[in-house]
Protein backbone atom coordinates (compact mmCIF):
# COMPACT_ATOMS: atom_id res chain seq x y z
CA UNK A 1 0.00 0.00 0.00
CA UNK A 2 3.03 2.26 0.33
CA UNK A 3 4.30 1.32 -3.11
CA UNK A 4 4.09 4.77 -4.62
CA UNK A 5 5.92 6.51 -1.82
CA UNK A 6 9.46 7.76 -2.39
CA UNK A 7 11.54 6.02 0.22
CA UNK A 8 13.96 8.93 0.54
CA UNK A 9 11.54 11.30 2.19
CA UNK A 10 9.93 9.16 4.83
CA UNK A 11 10.79 5.65 5.77
CA UNK A 12 7.98 3.20 5.38
CA UNK A 13 7.47 2.56 9.10
CA UNK A 14 7.46 6.28 9.80
CA UNK A 15 4.95 6.84 7.09
CA UNK A 16 2.83 4.01 8.39
CA UNK A 17 2.92 5.40 11.89
CA UNK A 18 1.97 8.79 10.55
CA UNK A 19 -0.88 7.34 8.52
CA UNK A 20 -2.09 5.33 11.45
CA UNK A 21 -2.04 8.34 13.76
CA UNK A 22 -3.93 10.59 11.40
CA UNK A 23 -6.20 7.75 10.35
CA UNK A 24 -7.18 7.06 13.93
CA UNK A 25 -8.31 10.66 14.31
CA UNK A 26 -10.35 10.59 11.12
CA UNK A 27 -11.80 7.13 11.50
CA UNK A 28 -15.17 6.61 13.10
CA UNK A 29 -14.86 5.82 16.78
CA UNK A 30 -16.66 2.53 16.37
CA UNK A 31 -17.68 0.73 13.23
CA UNK A 32 -19.69 -2.47 13.11
CA UNK A 33 -20.08 -4.10 9.75
CA UNK A 34 -22.67 -6.87 9.35
CA UNK A 35 -21.99 -8.19 12.82
CA UNK A 36 -23.84 -11.25 14.05
CA UNK A 37 -23.42 -12.77 17.46
CA UNK A 38 -25.11 -15.88 18.73
CA UNK A 39 -24.97 -17.49 22.11
CA UNK A 40 -25.98 -21.09 22.70
CA UNK A 41 -27.45 -21.27 19.22
CA UNK A 42 -29.63 -18.20 19.77
CA UNK A 43 -29.01 -15.14 17.67
CA UNK A 44 -28.49 -12.20 19.99
CA UNK A 45 -27.37 -9.76 17.33
CA UNK A 46 -28.24 -10.21 13.71
CA UNK A 47 -26.49 -8.51 10.85
CA UNK A 48 -25.80 -5.30 12.72
CA UNK A 49 -24.09 -2.45 10.94
CA UNK A 50 -23.53 0.69 12.91
CA UNK A 51 -21.17 3.62 12.82
CA UNK A 52 -20.42 5.77 15.82
CA UNK A 53 -18.52 8.88 14.86
CA UNK A 54 -15.96 10.50 17.08
CA UNK A 55 -17.52 12.63 19.79
CA UNK A 56 -20.92 11.11 19.21
CA UNK A 57 -23.07 10.53 22.26
CA UNK A 58 -24.97 7.37 21.44
CA UNK A 59 -27.77 6.00 23.55
CA UNK A 60 -28.45 2.29 23.22
CA UNK A 61 -32.01 1.42 24.12
CA UNK A 62 -34.16 -1.64 23.69
CA UNK A 63 -36.11 -4.32 25.52
CA UNK A 64 -34.49 -6.52 28.14
CA UNK A 65 -32.69 -9.40 26.52
CA UNK A 66 -32.62 -7.49 23.25
CA UNK A 67 -28.85 -7.53 23.06
CA UNK A 68 -27.86 -4.12 24.45
CA UNK A 69 -25.16 -5.51 26.72
CA UNK A 70 -23.98 -7.87 24.01
CA UNK A 71 -23.67 -4.97 21.60
CA UNK A 72 -21.56 -2.95 24.02
CA UNK A 73 -19.39 -5.96 24.85
CA UNK A 74 -18.81 -6.55 21.16
CA UNK A 75 -17.77 -2.91 20.84
CA UNK A 76 -15.40 -3.31 23.75
CA UNK A 77 -13.89 -6.44 22.26
CA UNK A 78 -14.99 -8.64 25.16
CA UNK A 79 -17.14 -10.73 22.85
CA UNK A 80 -16.03 -11.79 19.40
CA UNK A 81 -18.86 -11.87 16.87
CA UNK A 82 -19.15 -15.00 14.77
CA UNK A 83 -19.69 -12.89 11.68
CA UNK A 84 -18.84 -9.40 10.59
CA UNK A 85 -16.13 -7.00 11.61
CA UNK A 86 -15.71 -4.53 14.44
CA UNK A 87 -13.33 -1.62 14.17
CA UNK A 88 -12.52 0.83 16.93
CA UNK A 89 -10.73 3.90 15.57
CA UNK A 90 -9.88 1.77 12.57
CA UNK A 91 -8.26 -0.95 14.64
CA UNK A 92 -9.39 -4.26 16.06
CA UNK A 93 -11.04 -3.69 19.45
CA UNK A 94 -8.25 -5.54 21.24
CA UNK A 95 -5.62 -3.23 19.72
CA UNK A 96 -7.65 -0.15 20.54
CA UNK A 97 -8.37 -1.31 24.11
CA UNK A 98 -6.25 1.47 25.60
CA UNK A 99 -8.66 4.03 24.17
CA UNK A 100 -11.71 2.35 25.63
CA UNK A 101 -13.13 3.05 29.06
CA UNK A 102 -15.63 0.34 29.86
CA UNK A 103 -18.14 0.12 32.65
CA UNK A 104 -19.85 -3.27 32.93
CA UNK A 105 -23.46 -3.61 33.87
CA UNK A 106 -23.44 -6.44 36.34
CA UNK A 107 -21.75 -5.22 39.44
CA UNK A 108 -22.89 -7.86 41.84
CA UNK A 109 -19.24 -8.63 42.36
CA UNK A 110 -18.22 -10.20 45.64
CA UNK A 111 -19.27 -7.90 48.44
CA UNK A 112 -16.72 -9.35 50.85
CA UNK A 113 -13.86 -8.83 48.47
CA UNK A 114 -11.01 -7.10 50.30
CA UNK A 115 -10.50 -4.21 47.93
CA UNK A 116 -10.62 -0.46 48.42
CA UNK A 117 -12.23 2.21 46.25
CA UNK A 118 -8.77 3.43 45.23
CA UNK A 119 -7.70 -0.11 44.26
CA UNK A 120 -10.64 -0.35 41.88
CA UNK A 121 -10.05 3.08 40.37
CA UNK A 122 -6.39 2.20 39.81
CA UNK A 123 -7.44 -0.83 37.79
CA UNK A 124 -8.48 1.61 35.09
CA UNK A 125 -4.83 2.61 34.78
CA UNK A 126 -3.62 -0.82 33.70
CA UNK A 127 -2.24 -1.02 30.19
CA UNK A 128 -0.80 -3.83 28.19
CA UNK A 129 2.30 -1.80 27.63
CA UNK A 130 3.40 -3.06 30.99
CA UNK A 131 4.11 -6.73 31.44
CA UNK A 132 3.12 -6.62 35.06
CA UNK A 133 1.69 -4.11 37.52
CA UNK A 134 3.51 -4.74 40.76
CA UNK A 135 3.18 -1.08 41.64
CA UNK A 136 1.35 1.82 40.17
CA UNK A 137 3.23 5.00 39.35
CA UNK A 138 2.57 8.38 40.90
CA UNK A 139 0.81 9.49 37.70
CA UNK A 140 -1.46 6.47 37.93
CA UNK A 141 -2.44 7.40 41.46
CA UNK A 142 -2.99 11.01 40.47
CA UNK A 143 -5.18 10.07 37.51
CA UNK A 144 -7.20 7.63 39.60
CA UNK A 145 -7.70 10.26 42.30
CA UNK A 146 -8.81 12.79 39.69
CA UNK A 147 -11.33 10.34 38.27
CA UNK A 148 -12.72 9.70 41.76
CA UNK A 149 -12.87 13.43 42.37
CA UNK A 150 -14.86 13.95 39.16
CA UNK A 151 -17.42 11.42 40.36
CA UNK A 152 -17.37 13.05 43.82
CA UNK A 153 -16.25 9.97 45.70
CA UNK A 154 -12.61 10.82 46.39
CA UNK A 155 -13.39 11.03 50.10
CA UNK A 156 -14.27 7.34 49.99
CA UNK A 157 -10.92 6.32 48.48
CA UNK A 158 -9.82 4.20 51.44
CA UNK A 159 -13.23 2.60 52.01
CA UNK A 160 -13.85 -1.01 51.28
CA UNK A 161 -15.93 -1.30 48.11
CA UNK A 162 -18.39 -3.64 49.83
CA UNK A 163 -19.45 -0.78 52.12
CA UNK A 164 -20.53 1.54 49.31
CA UNK A 165 -24.14 2.12 48.35
CA UNK A 166 -25.33 0.98 44.94
CA UNK A 167 -25.13 4.48 43.51
CA UNK A 168 -21.66 5.09 44.90
CA UNK A 169 -20.49 1.81 43.47
CA UNK A 170 -21.77 2.74 40.02
CA UNK A 171 -19.97 6.04 40.22
CA UNK A 172 -16.82 4.18 41.23
CA UNK A 173 -17.03 1.99 38.14
CA UNK A 174 -17.50 5.04 35.95
CA UNK A 175 -14.45 6.57 37.62
CA UNK A 176 -12.50 3.40 36.88
CA UNK A 177 -13.49 3.65 33.23
CA UNK A 178 -12.38 7.30 33.19
CA UNK A 179 -9.09 6.75 34.98
CA UNK A 180 -7.41 5.35 31.89
CA UNK A 181 -7.99 8.60 29.98
CA UNK A 182 -10.07 6.92 27.29
CA UNK A 183 -11.17 8.36 23.97
CA UNK A 184 -14.29 6.22 24.00
CA UNK A 185 -16.53 5.58 27.00
CA UNK A 186 -18.76 2.52 26.95
CA UNK A 187 -21.20 2.58 29.85
CA UNK A 188 -23.65 -0.23 30.45
CA UNK A 189 -26.56 1.13 32.49
CA UNK A 190 -24.56 3.61 34.52
CA UNK A 191 -27.54 5.02 36.37
CA UNK A 192 -29.68 2.03 37.32
CA UNK A 193 -29.12 2.52 41.06
CA UNK A 194 -28.60 6.27 41.08
CA UNK A 195 -31.33 8.56 42.37
CA UNK A 196 -32.92 11.00 39.86
CA UNK A 197 -30.88 13.96 41.06
CA UNK A 198 -27.69 11.93 40.81
CA UNK A 199 -28.68 10.87 37.33
CA UNK A 200 -28.99 14.43 36.15
CA UNK A 201 -25.59 15.26 37.66
CA UNK A 202 -24.09 12.22 36.01
CA UNK A 203 -25.49 13.03 32.59
CA UNK A 204 -24.24 16.57 32.94
CA UNK A 205 -20.79 15.19 33.59
CA UNK A 206 -21.09 12.91 30.57
CA UNK A 207 -22.15 15.86 28.45
CA UNK A 208 -19.00 17.65 29.58
CA UNK A 209 -16.85 14.60 28.85
CA UNK A 210 -18.52 14.34 25.48
CA UNK A 211 -16.60 17.42 24.37
CA UNK A 212 -13.51 15.28 24.11
CA UNK A 213 -14.80 11.71 24.19
CA UNK A 214 -17.11 9.48 22.26
CA UNK A 215 -19.75 8.12 24.58
CA UNK A 216 -21.99 5.08 24.24
CA UNK A 217 -24.54 4.57 26.99
CA UNK A 218 -26.93 1.70 27.50
CA UNK A 219 -29.88 3.02 29.39
CA UNK A 220 -33.52 2.80 30.21
CA UNK A 221 -33.70 6.45 31.15
CA UNK A 222 -34.97 7.48 27.79
CA UNK A 223 -36.34 10.79 28.96
CA UNK A 224 -33.19 11.92 30.65
CA UNK A 225 -31.05 10.73 27.81
CA UNK A 226 -32.91 12.44 25.04
CA UNK A 227 -31.66 15.86 26.02
CA UNK A 228 -28.02 14.82 26.05
CA UNK A 229 -27.44 12.30 23.30
CA UNK A 230 -26.67 12.93 19.65
CA UNK A 231 -27.98 9.64 18.35
CA UNK A 232 -29.97 6.63 19.43
CA UNK A 233 -29.66 2.96 18.61
CA UNK A 234 -32.54 0.61 19.33
CA UNK A 235 -31.39 -2.92 19.87
CA UNK A 236 -33.78 -5.80 19.56
CA UNK A 237 -31.66 -8.37 17.77
CA UNK A 238 -31.43 -5.94 14.88
CA UNK A 239 -30.14 -2.47 15.41
CA UNK A 240 -31.94 0.61 14.22
CA UNK A 241 -29.63 3.52 14.29
CA UNK A 242 -30.93 7.04 14.25
CA UNK A 243 -28.69 9.92 13.60
CA UNK A 244 -30.47 12.27 15.87
CA UNK A 245 -31.50 12.31 19.45
CA UNK A 246 -35.08 12.45 18.42
CA UNK A 247 -37.02 9.40 19.32
CA UNK A 248 -39.70 8.51 16.85
CA UNK A 249 -42.67 6.41 17.44
CA UNK A 250 -41.54 3.79 14.99
CA UNK A 251 -38.33 3.33 16.93
CA UNK A 252 -40.18 2.88 20.14
CA UNK A 253 -42.52 0.39 18.63
CA UNK A 254 -39.57 -1.50 17.28
CA UNK A 255 -37.76 -1.39 20.54
CA UNK A 256 -40.44 -1.65 23.14
CA UNK A 257 -43.76 -2.33 21.45
CA UNK A 258 -45.15 0.12 23.95
CA UNK A 259 -45.13 3.77 22.92
CA UNK A 260 -48.06 4.35 25.26
CA UNK A 261 -46.15 3.97 28.44
CA UNK A 262 -43.40 6.26 27.32
CA UNK A 263 -45.77 9.05 26.42
CA UNK A 264 -47.86 8.61 29.52
CA UNK A 265 -44.91 9.19 31.78
CA UNK A 266 -44.97 12.95 31.96
CA UNK A 267 -42.25 14.03 29.60
CA UNK A 268 -39.47 16.13 31.11
CA UNK A 269 -37.96 16.92 27.74
CA UNK A 270 -39.64 16.76 24.42
CA UNK A 271 -38.71 13.57 22.66
CA UNK A 272 -41.34 13.39 19.98
CA UNK A 273 -41.94 15.70 17.16
CA UNK A 274 -44.89 17.78 18.20
CA UNK A 275 -47.11 16.66 15.38
CA UNK A 276 -46.44 13.01 16.12
CA UNK A 277 -47.27 13.60 19.72
CA UNK A 278 -50.47 15.35 18.82
CA UNK A 279 -51.52 12.95 16.15
CA UNK A 280 -51.14 9.91 18.34
CA UNK A 281 -51.79 11.11 21.85
CA UNK A 282 -52.42 7.59 22.98
Amino acid sequence: MDAGLPASRTTVPEHRAFCKATMAEDKPAIELDRVSFSFNGRNVLENVSLTVNQRDFLAVIGPNGGGKTTLIKVMAGLLKPQQGTVRVRGEKPADAARHIGYMPQDLHLEKDFPITVMDVALMGRMTHHRLFHGRYTREDKKAAAEALERLEILDLADQRVGRLSGGQRQRLFIARALAGDPKILLLDEPTSSVDPEGQTRLYRLLKELNETMTIVVVSHDLMVLSSYVTSVACVARHVHHHDSAEITEGMLEDAYHCPVEIIAHGVPHRVFRTHTYEKEPE
Binding site: A97, L109, P114, D119, M123, R135, Y136, R160, R176
Partner: protein, 270 residues
Protein backbone atom coordinates in the same frame (compact mmCIF):
# COMPACT_ATOMS: atom_id res chain seq x y z
CA UNK B 1 10.39 -26.22 76.96
CA UNK B 2 10.21 -24.67 73.54
CA UNK B 3 13.99 -24.20 73.56
CA UNK B 4 14.42 -27.80 74.54
CA UNK B 5 12.19 -28.80 71.65
CA UNK B 6 14.26 -26.71 69.26
CA UNK B 7 17.44 -28.49 70.28
CA UNK B 8 16.25 -31.40 68.14
CA UNK B 9 17.10 -30.98 64.49
CA UNK B 10 13.80 -32.47 63.37
CA UNK B 11 11.94 -29.88 65.41
CA UNK B 12 13.98 -27.06 63.89
CA UNK B 13 13.34 -28.43 60.41
CA UNK B 14 9.65 -28.75 61.23
CA UNK B 15 9.59 -25.12 62.31
CA UNK B 16 11.35 -23.93 59.15
CA UNK B 17 9.03 -26.04 57.01
CA UNK B 18 6.03 -24.63 58.85
CA UNK B 19 7.16 -21.05 58.36
CA UNK B 20 7.90 -21.54 54.66
CA UNK B 21 4.52 -23.16 54.21
CA UNK B 22 2.92 -20.29 56.14
CA UNK B 23 4.34 -17.63 53.84
CA UNK B 24 3.21 -19.56 50.78
CA UNK B 25 -0.21 -20.36 52.15
CA UNK B 26 -0.81 -16.80 53.23
CA UNK B 27 -0.38 -15.61 49.66
CA UNK B 28 -2.06 -18.52 47.90
CA UNK B 29 -4.81 -18.87 50.48
CA UNK B 30 -5.79 -15.22 50.07
CA UNK B 31 -6.13 -15.76 46.32
CA UNK B 32 -8.04 -19.01 46.86
CA UNK B 33 -10.54 -17.33 49.16
CA UNK B 34 -11.16 -14.23 47.05
CA UNK B 35 -11.50 -16.32 43.90
CA UNK B 36 -13.79 -18.82 45.62
CA UNK B 37 -11.45 -21.64 44.70
CA UNK B 38 -11.56 -23.60 47.96
CA UNK B 39 -13.33 -26.59 46.45
CA UNK B 40 -11.02 -26.57 43.47
CA UNK B 41 -7.95 -26.51 45.74
CA UNK B 42 -9.41 -29.50 47.52
CA UNK B 43 -9.71 -31.22 44.16
CA UNK B 44 -6.11 -30.49 43.27
CA UNK B 45 -4.93 -31.61 46.70
CA UNK B 46 -6.71 -34.92 46.54
CA UNK B 47 -5.83 -35.57 42.93
CA UNK B 48 -2.26 -35.27 44.19
CA UNK B 49 -2.84 -38.40 46.24
CA UNK B 50 -2.78 -40.32 42.95
CA UNK B 51 0.72 -38.96 42.46
CA UNK B 52 1.83 -40.25 45.83
CA UNK B 53 0.59 -43.76 45.03
CA UNK B 54 2.22 -43.65 41.63
CA UNK B 55 5.52 -42.50 43.09
CA UNK B 56 5.53 -45.45 45.47
CA UNK B 57 4.64 -47.87 42.71
CA UNK B 58 7.32 -46.67 40.30
CA UNK B 59 9.77 -45.92 43.07
CA UNK B 60 10.44 -42.21 42.47
CA UNK B 61 10.29 -39.37 44.93
CA UNK B 62 6.77 -38.78 46.34
CA UNK B 63 7.44 -35.06 46.10
CA UNK B 64 7.92 -35.42 42.35
CA UNK B 65 4.81 -37.57 42.13
CA UNK B 66 2.58 -35.10 43.92
CA UNK B 67 4.10 -32.21 42.01
CA UNK B 68 3.42 -33.84 38.64
CA UNK B 69 -0.08 -34.98 39.52
CA UNK B 70 -1.10 -31.70 41.13
CA UNK B 71 0.22 -29.64 38.24
CA UNK B 72 -1.57 -31.85 35.74
CA UNK B 73 -4.81 -31.60 37.72
CA UNK B 74 -4.36 -27.83 38.02
CA UNK B 75 -3.87 -27.40 34.28
CA UNK B 76 -6.94 -29.46 33.48
CA UNK B 77 -9.03 -27.51 35.99
CA UNK B 78 -7.66 -24.18 34.78
CA UNK B 79 -8.74 -25.04 31.25
CA UNK B 80 -12.22 -25.94 32.42
CA UNK B 81 -12.76 -23.06 34.83
CA UNK B 82 -11.40 -20.38 32.52
CA UNK B 83 -14.67 -19.87 30.65
CA UNK B 84 -17.37 -20.93 33.04
CA UNK B 85 -16.60 -20.66 36.70
CA UNK B 86 -20.00 -21.98 37.68
CA UNK B 87 -20.03 -25.29 35.82
CA UNK B 88 -16.68 -26.55 37.03
CA UNK B 89 -17.92 -28.23 40.22
CA UNK B 90 -18.66 -31.55 38.62
CA UNK B 91 -15.31 -31.91 36.90
CA UNK B 92 -13.47 -30.91 40.05
CA UNK B 93 -15.40 -33.59 41.92
CA UNK B 94 -14.53 -36.21 39.33
CA UNK B 95 -10.82 -35.34 39.40
CA UNK B 96 -10.92 -35.33 43.20
CA UNK B 97 -12.37 -38.83 43.36
CA UNK B 98 -10.36 -40.26 40.47
CA UNK B 99 -7.08 -38.96 41.88
CA UNK B 100 -7.66 -40.51 45.27
CA UNK B 101 -8.84 -43.79 43.77
CA UNK B 102 -5.74 -43.94 41.58
CA UNK B 103 -3.60 -43.39 44.67
CA UNK B 104 -5.25 -46.27 46.50
CA UNK B 105 -4.98 -48.60 43.50
CA UNK B 106 -1.30 -47.82 43.02
CA UNK B 107 -0.75 -48.43 46.73
CA UNK B 108 -2.53 -51.79 46.36
CA UNK B 109 -0.31 -52.74 43.46
CA UNK B 110 2.87 -51.80 45.27
CA UNK B 111 4.34 -54.90 46.90
CA UNK B 112 4.27 -54.48 50.67
CA UNK B 113 1.90 -51.69 51.69
CA UNK B 114 4.08 -48.64 52.23
CA UNK B 115 3.38 -47.43 55.75
CA UNK B 116 4.56 -43.99 54.72
CA UNK B 117 1.49 -43.46 52.54
CA UNK B 118 -0.57 -42.61 55.58
CA UNK B 119 1.79 -39.81 56.44
CA UNK B 120 0.94 -38.16 53.13
CA UNK B 121 -2.66 -38.23 54.11
CA UNK B 122 -2.17 -36.72 57.53
CA UNK B 123 1.13 -34.94 57.21
CA UNK B 124 4.57 -35.65 58.55
CA UNK B 125 6.14 -32.35 59.33
CA UNK B 126 8.55 -33.99 61.77
CA UNK B 127 10.27 -35.96 59.01
CA UNK B 128 11.06 -32.97 56.80
CA UNK B 129 14.67 -33.15 55.69
CA UNK B 130 17.21 -30.65 54.36
CA UNK B 131 16.42 -31.43 50.76
CA UNK B 132 12.71 -30.83 51.33
CA UNK B 133 13.48 -27.50 52.94
CA UNK B 134 15.42 -26.38 49.87
CA UNK B 135 12.64 -27.40 47.55
CA UNK B 136 10.06 -25.67 49.74
CA UNK B 137 12.21 -22.56 49.99
CA UNK B 138 12.55 -22.32 46.23
CA UNK B 139 8.82 -22.74 45.69
CA UNK B 140 8.04 -20.20 48.37
CA UNK B 141 10.37 -17.68 46.72
CA UNK B 142 8.70 -18.33 43.36
CA UNK B 143 5.21 -17.81 44.76
CA UNK B 144 6.25 -14.61 46.55
CA UNK B 145 7.89 -13.32 43.36
CA UNK B 146 4.72 -13.85 41.36
CA UNK B 147 2.55 -12.36 44.09
CA UNK B 148 4.64 -9.20 44.28
CA UNK B 149 5.28 -8.62 40.58
CA UNK B 150 1.80 -9.44 39.36
CA UNK B 151 0.07 -8.20 42.45
CA UNK B 152 -2.28 -5.73 40.84
CA UNK B 153 -2.85 -7.98 37.86
CA UNK B 154 -3.88 -10.81 40.16
CA UNK B 155 -6.08 -8.41 42.08
CA UNK B 156 -7.81 -7.23 38.90
CA UNK B 157 -8.13 -10.78 37.64
CA UNK B 158 -9.73 -11.91 40.87
CA UNK B 159 -12.06 -8.96 41.16
CA UNK B 160 -13.22 -8.35 37.61
CA UNK B 161 -11.65 -10.63 34.97
CA UNK B 162 -13.57 -9.03 32.09
CA UNK B 163 -12.25 -5.61 32.90
CA UNK B 164 -8.76 -6.96 33.52
CA UNK B 165 -8.76 -8.60 30.09
CA UNK B 166 -9.84 -5.34 28.52
CA UNK B 167 -6.96 -3.51 30.17
CA UNK B 168 -4.48 -5.94 28.69
CA UNK B 169 -3.91 -8.11 31.75
CA UNK B 170 -2.87 -11.60 30.57
CA UNK B 171 -5.93 -13.14 32.20
CA UNK B 172 -5.63 -16.61 30.69
CA UNK B 173 -1.96 -16.92 31.54
CA UNK B 174 -2.45 -15.69 35.09
CA UNK B 175 -5.42 -17.98 35.64
CA UNK B 176 -3.27 -20.97 34.71
CA UNK B 177 -0.40 -19.61 36.77
CA UNK B 178 -2.66 -19.14 39.79
CA UNK B 179 -3.93 -22.71 39.69
CA UNK B 180 -0.38 -24.00 39.22
CA UNK B 181 0.68 -22.01 42.25
CA UNK B 182 -2.15 -23.59 44.20
CA UNK B 183 -0.82 -26.96 43.09
CA UNK B 184 2.67 -26.00 44.29
CA UNK B 185 1.31 -24.89 47.62
CA UNK B 186 -0.55 -28.18 47.89
CA UNK B 187 2.63 -30.14 47.29
CA UNK B 188 4.40 -28.22 50.03
CA UNK B 189 1.52 -28.58 52.43
CA UNK B 190 1.37 -32.31 51.91
CA UNK B 191 4.51 -32.48 54.00
CA UNK B 192 3.25 -30.18 56.69
CA UNK B 193 -0.38 -30.91 57.39
CA UNK B 194 -1.22 -33.69 54.96
CA UNK B 195 -3.71 -33.82 52.13
CA UNK B 196 -6.85 -34.11 54.23
CA UNK B 197 -6.27 -30.86 56.01
CA UNK B 198 -4.93 -28.72 53.21
CA UNK B 199 -8.25 -27.12 52.37
CA UNK B 200 -8.67 -25.96 55.93
CA UNK B 201 -5.18 -24.47 55.99
CA UNK B 202 -5.73 -22.63 52.70
CA UNK B 203 -9.08 -21.22 53.78
CA UNK B 204 -9.19 -20.59 57.54
CA UNK B 205 -6.42 -17.97 57.87
CA UNK B 206 -7.38 -15.94 54.76
CA UNK B 207 -11.05 -16.12 55.71
CA UNK B 208 -10.26 -14.65 59.09
CA UNK B 209 -7.90 -12.07 57.60
CA UNK B 210 -10.47 -11.03 55.01
CA UNK B 211 -12.81 -9.88 57.78
CA UNK B 212 -10.18 -7.71 59.36
CA UNK B 213 -8.49 -5.85 56.53
CA UNK B 214 -9.55 -4.16 53.33
CA UNK B 215 -6.79 -4.86 50.84
CA UNK B 216 -5.66 -8.07 49.23
CA UNK B 217 -2.02 -7.45 50.07
CA UNK B 218 -2.88 -7.11 53.74
CA UNK B 219 -5.00 -10.24 53.65
CA UNK B 220 -2.00 -12.08 52.23
CA UNK B 221 0.37 -10.78 54.89
CA UNK B 222 -2.06 -11.31 57.74
CA UNK B 223 -2.97 -14.84 56.73
CA UNK B 224 0.71 -15.71 56.39
CA UNK B 225 1.17 -14.44 59.93
CA UNK B 226 -1.84 -16.41 61.16
CA UNK B 227 -0.54 -19.56 59.44
CA UNK B 228 2.80 -19.08 61.17
CA UNK B 229 1.16 -18.60 64.57
CA UNK B 230 -1.01 -21.69 64.09
CA UNK B 231 1.97 -23.75 62.96
CA UNK B 232 4.17 -22.76 65.87
CA UNK B 233 1.39 -23.15 68.42
CA UNK B 234 0.29 -26.45 66.93
CA UNK B 235 3.83 -27.78 66.93
CA UNK B 236 4.32 -26.75 70.55
CA UNK B 237 1.06 -28.43 71.54
CA UNK B 238 1.93 -31.59 69.66
CA UNK B 239 5.39 -31.70 71.25
CA UNK B 240 4.10 -31.06 74.76
CA UNK B 241 1.21 -33.53 74.59
CA UNK B 242 2.82 -35.99 72.17
CA UNK B 243 0.07 -35.63 69.56
CA UNK B 244 0.11 -35.83 65.76
CA UNK B 245 1.62 -32.56 64.59
CA UNK B 246 -0.48 -31.92 61.46
CA UNK B 247 -3.76 -32.51 63.24
CA UNK B 248 -2.65 -30.33 66.17
CA UNK B 249 -1.85 -27.43 63.85
CA UNK B 250 -5.25 -27.65 62.20
CA UNK B 251 -7.11 -27.93 65.48
CA UNK B 252 -5.39 -24.80 66.72
CA UNK B 253 -6.43 -23.05 63.49
CA UNK B 254 -9.99 -24.33 63.78
CA UNK B 255 -10.20 -23.22 67.42
CA UNK B 256 -9.06 -19.73 66.43
CA UNK B 257 -11.56 -19.72 63.56
CA UNK B 258 -14.52 -20.56 65.79
CA UNK B 259 -13.35 -18.14 68.47
CA UNK B 260 -13.21 -15.45 65.79
CA UNK B 261 -16.72 -16.31 64.62
CA UNK B 262 -18.03 -16.23 68.17
CA UNK B 263 -16.45 -12.86 68.87
CA UNK B 264 -17.87 -11.44 65.65
CA UNK B 265 -21.32 -12.78 66.54
CA UNK B 266 -21.16 -11.34 70.03
CA UNK B 267 -20.10 -7.98 68.68
CA UNK B 268 -23.00 -8.00 66.24
CA UNK B 269 -25.49 -8.69 69.01
CA UNK B 270 -24.01 -6.14 71.37
Amino acid sequence: MLLEALSHEFMRNALYAGLLASATCGVIGALVVVNRLAFLSGGIAHAAYGGVGMAFFFGFSPLLGTLGFSLAAALVMAGITLRSKGRSDTVVGVLWAAGMAAGVIFADLTPGYPADLMSYLFGSILTVGHEDLWVMGTMCAGVLFVAVFWHNDLLALSYDPDFARLRGVPVTFLHFLLLCMIALAVVMLVRVVGLILIVAFLTIPPYMAEQWTSSLARVMALSALLCAVFTVTGLAVSYALNLTSGASIILVAAAAFFADLAVARLRQNA
